[in-house]
């Protein structure tokens, strides 16, 4: 369970790791609620709580005033965290990306269906016979390109 300060810090970190789009249309990871995913990410990391706590605590050790820093100063702090704990930070990144891109409401922002892909899938039209014949014509024209068993 995170304290209020840790929770606020985590949200800021997440929004710096996956920032919102310039027009605000695509939310950052903090505003998208990735923090709640991190709390229940045990199937995807041996110890997600330790990963999250290590990142938060290291951020606050480096910059006790992290929440009041400028965006660029916060980025610099996170870069230092990454340098101090490269493996932990990579695990943090993995979990953040998983928590963010698994959200059904976000997927359409990247061109992917919100709903589960089965049973509907995606409509992809088959190429016409004519188109396929035209595309493969140069390949056919070269003739056989395999090596026979006798060389």
């Amino acid at each position: 369970m995170l304290t209020t300060r840790q929770t606020e810090t985590l949200s800021l970190i997440l929004n710096d790791v996956i920032p919102p789009s310039a027009d605000g249309h695509v939310p950052g990871a903090g505003n998208a609620g990735v923090a709640s995913f991190l709390q229940q990410a045990t199937p995807y990391d041996p110890d997600p709580a330790r990963v999250v706590l290590t990142v938060i605590e290291t951020v606050l050790e480096i910059a006790d005033d992290f929440s009041s820093q400028s965006p660029q100063d916060r980025i610099d702090v996170i870069i230092r965290v990454q340098a101090q704990h490269p493996q932990i930070f990579e695990r943090f990144l993995r979990l953040t990306y998983m928590g963010y891109y698994s959200q059904a409401e976000l997927r359409p922002l990247f061109g992917v269906a919100a709903e589960p892909v089965h049973p509907s899938g995606y409509p992809v039209p088959s190429e016409s016979s004519r188109m396929m014949a035209d595309l493969t014509a140069p390949v056919r024209a070269r003739g056989a390109v395999y090596r026979p068993a006798d060389g």
């Binding site: 710096d16 790791v17 996956i18 920032p19 789009s21 695509v26 199937p43 995807y44 980025i75 996170i78 990579e90 990144l93 993995r94 953040t96 990306y97 998983m98 963010y100 891109y101 698994s102 059904a104 997927r107 990247f110 061109g111 992917v112 709903e115 589960p116 892909v117 089965h118 049973p119 509907s120 899938g121 995606y122 409509p123 992809v124 039209p125 088959s126 190429e127 396929m132 595309l135 493969t136 140069p138 390949v139 056919r140 070269r142 003739g143 056989a144 390109v145 395999y146 090596r147 026979p148 068993a149 060389g151």
Partner: protein, 543 residues
């Protein structure tokens, strides 16, 4: 004291319900022998495949990971990969790795069976393409294969169903290959482009690795097993074989000891034992079946059990285009395949060759985490936003699939400490990349970049920094190779152990060379061929 439960003897005991176990069971149906298949995993209903869940992509990194060391399900055995640059991946359950394979279905080529004679490397197979051709065709009919006839990279044959759509990505890349005058062809796939036999055609969901909830992909859970169960083949799931039992007087296999779903140790007698446990599971079981008479493992008088492990080392190159490639729409690995650089060419600094496979279905999560088979998250911060907004939608990739040459030092052994949940010693993989393969991959990367540029890519991205993909050991071959000489092979030209006359091996471990194509089509064709030889030789089978 451990209780051992005994069962009625069977005629044929098959270990493993994956690609090869199912195929040979089907081949032997007409003999009316009593056939039992022991499978360590479960029979997962397709309703349980993750692609019907809102968070389906997460399953790829948890309980449906292709890596058993990540999944750690009850039916999985750990694999020590500390001494390997490639991690083996698989699925343990009915269907085996056809549950999470990608359905790419190219055949091996005539030259693949003759590398010693043609190129002076490895060994020739004791069978050839022409011999296997009718069994490829038989297997294609049972599986449901889509593709385009007339591929000039093969002797003539015709896939039964029309090709699956190339899509924007495949069409774009095809034009690039045409620009260069290089071979390419729509991929043969074990994926239905039309409804068939009660199975639904592909809906382009892009989740082939998550079980295919549509039943379009030709996993043996959808193809062979319904036929086998209707025909009365007994399938015992949750049954992990501990060792093969041998009669010390005759040297013949008498059956197996296995841990059942009930937690008990069982003894199953059989007239004939067939191993279908893949290129790692099969040598593991043989090495675990050592006896006083066979101290180095069963069927191992040649010392070749576990040796000559071959994967298909992979690397990839991506191109960024001006328009969306819609990479997440369509079967994952299958759009087009170029075999321009497949055959040996004396002007190159390597022998044999590779294929260039177009990949699809990179969803945002998979892409952000580094790509399928790669553990390297993309950058964070402003760069992350830029990559996901401007690069991800417009990307198309080519995968270099290299032929691996056999090397006796690349091998499967038993780990001295690691065990599965039943206490059975786990396999350890020792594998390094050969110099020939390194050169091949380097050549392939450069040609892939060339093809992408010709197709219109304005930026080329290499994903691997000269390393092969880590979690990409799909194809596990060579560890019990076939051959005519008992001194340097484990089984003969039709899969029978040189040492134990009623023991057969039918999985990818009996491959002599790897080719540079996905092996499942060949594994199953070979299993059908071995089944045919067993039927032909039935009167003198164990002589």
């Amino acid at each position: 004291m451990v209780t051992t439960m005994k069962h009625e003897p069977v005629d044929v005991l098959i270990i493993g319900a994956g690609a090869s176990g199912a195929a040979i069971a089907w081949s032997l149906l007409e003999t009316r022998m009593r056939i039992l298949c022991l499978e360590q995993g479960t029979h997962l209903p397709d309703a349980d495949f993750p692609s019907r869940r809102p968070d389906y992509e997460l399953a790829r990194y948890g309980e449906f990971s292709c890596d058993p060391n990540i999944r750690q399900l009850a039916q999985d055995y750990p694999i020590n990969v500390d001494d390997s640059c490639i991690a083996p991946v698989n699925w343990n359950g009915v269907g085996g790795s056809t549950i999470n394979f990608l359905g790419h279905w190219p055949r091996m080529k005539p030259s693949d069976f003759r590398t010693r004679s043609l190129d002076g490397v490895a060994e020739d197979w004791p069978v050839d393409y022409a011999t296997l051709e009718p069994f490829y065709a038989m297997n294609d009919r049972n599986t449901g294969v889509s593709g385009l006839s007339g591929n000039p990279a093969y002797p003539d044959y015709a896939p039964e169903l029309p090709p699956i759509p190339l899509g924007q990505l495949g069409q774009t890349l095809a034009k690039g290959f045409n620009q260069l005058g290089w071979h390419w062809w729509p991929s043969d796939v074990a994926i239905l482009s039309k409804d068939q036999d009660g199975r639904q055609k592909c809906v382009n969901a892009g989740t082939c690795d998550l079980g295919c909830a549509a039943g379009a992909k030709g996993g043996t859970n959808f193809t062979y097993w319904p036929m086998l169960e209707r025909a009365g083949v007994e399938l015992r799931t949750g049954s992990r074989v501990r060792e093969i039992l041998i009669d010390p007087a005759t040297g013949m296999a008498t059956g197996v000891l296995y841990h059942g779903a009930d937690g008990q140790l069982h003894r199953q007698q059989a007239e004939m034992v067939i191993l279908a446990c893949n290129g790692i599971g099969t040598p593991r079981l043989l090495l675990n079946s050592d006896t006083e008479r066979n101290p180095d493992g069963l069927a191992n008088s040649s010392g070749m059990v576990g040796r000559n492990l071959m994967f298909h080392p992979l690397t990839g190159v991506s191109g960024v285009f001006d328009q969306p490639m819609k990479g997440h729409e369509g079967p994952m690995a299958c759009s087009i395949l170029s075999q321009e650089f497949y055959e040996s060419d004396p002007s190159r600094d390597f022998v044999r060759g590779y294929g260039l496979h177009s990949g699809r279905s990179t969803t945002p999560m998979t892409f952000a985490l580094g790509g399928y088979g790669i553990d390297r998250p993309i950058p964070w911060g402003a760069a992350h936003r830029e990559i996901m907004d401007d690069i991800y939608p417009n990307i198309a990739s080519l995968t270099v699939v290299a032929e691996d040459l056999p090397d006796q030092e690349n091998r499967v052994t038993l780990d001295p400490d690691l065990t599965d949940s039943d206490g059975i010693p786990a396999p350890k993989i020792s594998y390094r990349l050969g110099e020939n393969t390194r050169r091949m991959l380097k050549h392939g990367e450069a040609r892939a970049a060339e093809a992408l540029r010709a197709a219109g890519a304005h930026t080329i991205l290499s994903k691997n920094d000269d390393a092969v993909w880590w979690r990409a050991g799909w194809h596990q071959m060579g560890t019990c190779r076939m051959g005519n000489d008992p001194e340097n092979s484990v089984v003969n030209g039709w899969g029978r152990s040189h040492d134990v006359k009623n023991l057969f091996i039918v999985d990818g471990s009996i491959f002599v060379t790897a080719g540079a194509v996905n092996p499942t089509s060949t594994i199953q064709a070979l299993a059908l061929y071995i089944g045919d030889r067993i039927k032909t030789n039935i009167a003198t089978l164990f002589d």
